[in-house]
């Protein structure tokens, strides 16, 4: 932990970072995001295996739009999100540096999203065993069973949009949900409105989701949202090729191959 605090203090002292977004102890055993800008608060910062929030979600918030030098604690998920956000021109004028835990758990400083991109491992983010089991059960379901499953799950969704707020890739100032001319997503948080919202969210994640699971973690009702995106990524990889995380602005939906394979268009 000492190495960590030392790096942060140096960053703040040298002005390379005007704001450090890290983790601190929360209620009970929880970890939560911490925002440090002066040196003597560095002690609050921790970075251990329980830290799971994807801190890159704050980099696109209006509050931090005008802070150019920011340092962020980066878990593998956060790294993937930062690289893709950089690919989507979201860090136009930002000078970012990242504190990363390498294999043997000591802190490492990386400067710039490009450097981070090639530091990125290719390995996939592992699902928890409960999620794996639910995904397997889900695969075996018939269409009717899946429809019933989601009818039951989405009946609890109150559209509090915690999943949208927690997702680093959801940074639109006005989301389609708030468009009422035309009213794309039906207003009542009835089942139909919830189906439309979650289908739209999945489609907007096509080729962009970094599989960090923040959406599922944030949902107060515990809906299995990670299954939706994880299953979509698997299908996309099966039909359209590997889902590589890179700075490249080419993602699944805004590019094509002249001979994309499909078996349902007559």
């Amino acid at each position: 932990m000492k190495r960590l605090h030392q790096i942060v203090s140096e960053l703040l002292a040298s002005g390379k970072a005007k704001l450090v977004i890290g983790y601190e102890k929360g209620t009970g055993e929880k970890r939560r995001p911490a925002f440090i800008s002066d040196a003597n608060e560095v002690e609050r910062l921790v970075f251990d295996s329980q830290c799971s929030h994807n801190l890159s979600v704050y980099l696109t918030k209006p509050e931090y739009k005008h802070v150019t030098e920011i340092a962020v604690f980066a878990t593998p998920q956060t790294m993937r999100a930062v690289v893709r956000l950089a690919g989507e021109n979201q860090f136009q004028d930002k000078k970012l540096s990242f504190i990363v835990m390498d294999q043997d758990q000591n802190a490492l400083l990386i400067e710039g999203a490009e450097v981070l991109a090639n530091h990125l491992g290719k390995e996939k983010i592992a699902l928890s065993s409960a999620q794996e089991e639910l995904l397997a059960k889900f695969e075996a379901m018939s269409r009717e069973e899946r429809f019933a499953y989601w009818k039951e799950q989405l009946s609890n969704c109150v559209k509090c949009y915690a999943c949208r707020a927690a997702c680093p890739m959801c940074y639109c100032t006005r989301c389609t949900v708030e468009v009422n001319q035309p009213q794309w997503i039906s207003v009542p948080s009835s089942l139909q409105g919830n189906f439309e919202y979650h289908i739209m969210r999945a489609m907007h994640m096509a080729g962009r989701c970094v599989d960090c699971g923040s959406c599922e973690a944030a949902c107060p009702l515990g809906l299995p949202l990670n299954i939706i995106t994880r299953r979509m990524i698997k299908d996309i990889e099966a039909s359209l090729g590997p889902d590589i995380v890179s700075m490249d602005t080419k993602s699944v939906l805004n590019t094509f191959q002249p001979n994309d394979k499909e078996n349902f268009i007559r």
Binding site: E88, N89, C172, T173, R174, W184, N254, T255
Partner: protein
């Protein structure tokens, strides 16, 4: 509040026959926002259009829905009517009650209900239309003509003589196309060289025409008025400025046995060659595949003898760029080879030749200097059999259409043969004689009656060679399908005219559609024969479908006139159906999140970055902006944008959703 007028057309019986137009008009009155609804026998006729104008004035309409034929047919007509009556053209929509309803369903209540639904859909849409005015776009007044045959030559001359610049590109070393290969042309039998060569020279010397031969279109970007053409000038291995066309190299070149394309492989040419004496430009080209230097690295004799050292062996292909306002495709056609016909010997028999090869035999500049001699032994044939419809009108061979010109040139060939070999016998096996042009039928009658060409009505089933003779086995359907056998010295097949084998690639480069025979598809078979679906790209000649010289010249002038119309104004007005990125009051400025993934979706690179700056000049936000000049209105970015920040005028999200809702909420 919207004040919509609904006008249902009977289209004579076309719609009225199966749709109760009156009932549709009546039920349209109850639609939300409709203040006037009527039906009339011919809405597109003058009285019909005046009816609309009166209704607009009387009921102060703000929007119009016309239930009639396909908008692809009369949308411009009714939009013009509305704008003349003071309602913006884009506040007028059409419901397709004919092609999509009356013509395809049985008479009955269901069909009338569907017609009502279609009208309700468009009323729902019109209520969300916004008045739009056409976009003004500058026009670069240079035309690109692809193909230097008679079609390309005529188009280029018409445009150039009207004072506009033309870039004429031709794949072969010289312009002239197939016409330059012809001996004499029907129906007047005047020699093609005499009427074509002056035009070719006129093209070469015309100040407004930039002639680039031995060149092909590499790519075409942009849109009407603002195309950017990249042309690949294939290396001629000759410095055209230094070369005086003296022809020394062509005489000295040791490789003399290459079957010449111009003579349809009946005569030979050298590796460095000028296709034919009257070639324009009259400068040689080195055929890299057959030149010993390029193949084996030795020789270079032409270089030694060239008085002006114009030979450039290391000359590379060159890509030149031109900004172009409009394009004319005049790439012409090809004829099928004799190897296409198994029953006539798979092209094995030397004396079974194509019509084009006969032209070369008959031509004074041909390999036999105009004497009809047969390729195998050079003897003058005593008896020639001509086969009309060789490959054409034959679905089994995959060519369903009639090639249109073969009846006429077959009669001409027979006539030329009789003029040159008086004692010779000419037989023509035919199905029907299609001579429908001016002086055409008289021409074929002359061949039959004066020149005693024996026309036998029947198909030839087989040709085989027997001790120097070609046994032609056919039947005479006018004599009860009696088998007929003719021992001929030579057989001329009037083979089918087909599209060039690379026509499809050119079509895809130009984003122009082509039919199953790879001929280019016109915008409308009757009303827009010289235009294509892609604005600014026109067609001339046989590349659209087989046609003879008079029609080709007429079509070429037609295409030229379209372009002169386009070039007559400095600015081009374009359909305002373009995408627009929304703007909002500060501090938001736009809901665009600046991800710019839409840029890679746009096929026309019409989306740019706009930096929104505050008074101090600092960039607050970078958002997307659509260049209305480049945007062609495909709408892919609109459906792609995750934050719904881009919308397209004419097919906006609001319009499309309301159209669908109006259809589905009909109870």
């Amino acid at each position: 509040m919207a004040r919509i007028g609904v006008f249902i057309c009977h289209c004579g019986e076309n719609i009225g026959g199966t749709v109760d137009c009156n009932k549709v008009a009546k039920s349209a009155e109850s639609f939300d926002g409709v203040v006037f609804s009527t039906d009339y026998k011919y809405m597109c006729s003058d009285p019909g259009q005046t009816l609309i104008k009166q209704a607009i004035a009387e009921h102060k309409l703000t929007g119009v829905v016309v239930g009639a034929c396909s908008p692809r047919m009369h949308e411009p007509t009714f939009r013009k009517t509305c704008s003349e009556a003071g309602v913006n053209g884009y506040m007028c929509e059409m419901a397709n009650l004919r092609e999509h309803c009356s013509w395809v369903h049985e008479k009955g209540e269901a069909t009338t209900n569907k017609a009502t639904d279609l009208v309700r859909m468009l009323v729902g849409k019109v209520k969300n239309n916004k008045p739009l005015s056409p976009i003004k776009v500058p026009v670069s007044k240079t035309a690109l003509v692809i193909g230097g045959g008679i079609a390309g030559i005529q188009t280029s001359l018409d445009i150039a003589n009207a004072g506009h610049k033309v870039v004429l590109i031709e794949k072969q070393p010289s312009i002239g196309g197939h016409m330059s290969q012809l001996s004499e042309t029907f129906p007047t039998l005047d020699c093609s060289q005499c009427i074509l060569t002056p035009r070719m020279v006129e093209v070469a010397q015309h100040p407004n025409i930039e002639l680039i031969t031995y060149a092909e279109l590499e790519s075409l970007d942009g849109f009407i008025g603002n195309f950017k053409a990249r042309i690949r000038k294939k290396a001629k291995s000759i410095d055209e400025k230094l070369c005086t066309g003296c022809g020394m190299c062509t005489t000295k070149c040791p490789t003399k046995k290459i079957p010449g394309e111009f003579n349809e492989k009946l005569g030979n040419r050298t590796a460095i060659y000028v296709p034919f004496p009257q070639a324009v430009p009259n400068k040689p080209v080195i055929d890299k595949n057959n030149c010993t230097y390029y193949q084996k690295g030795k020789c270079r004799i032409c270089e030694k003898f060239c008085p002006t050292q114009a030979i450039r062996f290391d000359q590379p292909d060159e890509i030149v760029e031109r900004s172009i306002g409009a394009v004319v495709v005049a790439t012409g056609f090809e004829v099928k080879g004799t190897d296409f016909f198994p029953e006539y010997g798979y092209g094995k028999y030397a004396d079974v030749i194509t019509g084009l090869q006969f032209e070369r035999l008959a031509s004074a500049s041909g390999p036999t200097l105009g004497e009809i001699r047969r390729p195998s032994d050079g003897k003058i044939p005593e008896k020639i059999v001509f086969l009309a419809c060789a490959g054409s009108r034959d679905p089994a061979k995959g060519i369903k259409y009639c090639s249109k010109i073969c009846c006429m040139y077959t009669a001409k060939h027979a006539m030329l043969y009789k003029h040159k070999v008086h004692h010779g016998d000419a037989y023509v096996f035919y199905m029907d004689i299609r001579a429908a042009g001016k002086m055409y039928d008289e021409f074929t009658r002359r061949a039959i009656e004066e020149d005693e060409v024996k026309y036998i009505r029947g198909r030839v089933s087989r040709i085989y060679e027997k001790n120097g003779k070609l046994i032609v086995k056919g039947a005479d359907t006018l004599l009860g399908a009696m088998p007929v056998e003719v021992e001929a010295d030579m057989v001329v097949l009037a083979t089918a005219s087909v599209a060039h084998n690379d026509a499809a690639d050119l079509a895809q480069k130009l984003h122009v559609s082509y039919d199953e025979n790879n001929f280019f598809v016109e915008a409308h078979p009757k009303l827009k024969p010289v235009e294509t679906n892609t604005a600014g790209i026109f067609l001339a000649g046989a590349c659209q479908s087989p046609r003879d010289i008079p029609e080709t010249v007429a079509m070429a002038s037609g295409a030229a006139s379209k372009i002169l119309g386009l070039f007559s104004q400095n600015e081009l007005t374009r359909e305002p159906v373009v995408a627009v990125v929304n703007r909002a009051a500060p501090p938001l400025f736009s809901t665009c999140a600046g991800c710019f993934m839409c840029q890679s979706v746009c096929p026309y690179q019409a989306i740019e970055k706009e930096e929104i700056k505050n008074r101090a000049g600092e960039t607050i936000k970078t958002v997307a902006k659509v260049n209305p000049g480049l945007c062609q209105g495909c709408g892919t970015c609109v459906a792609f944008c995750r934050s719904k920040s881009i919308d397209i005028q004419g097919f906006s999200n609001e319009q499309m959703v309301e159209e669908v809702f109006a259809l589905l909420n009909n109870d």
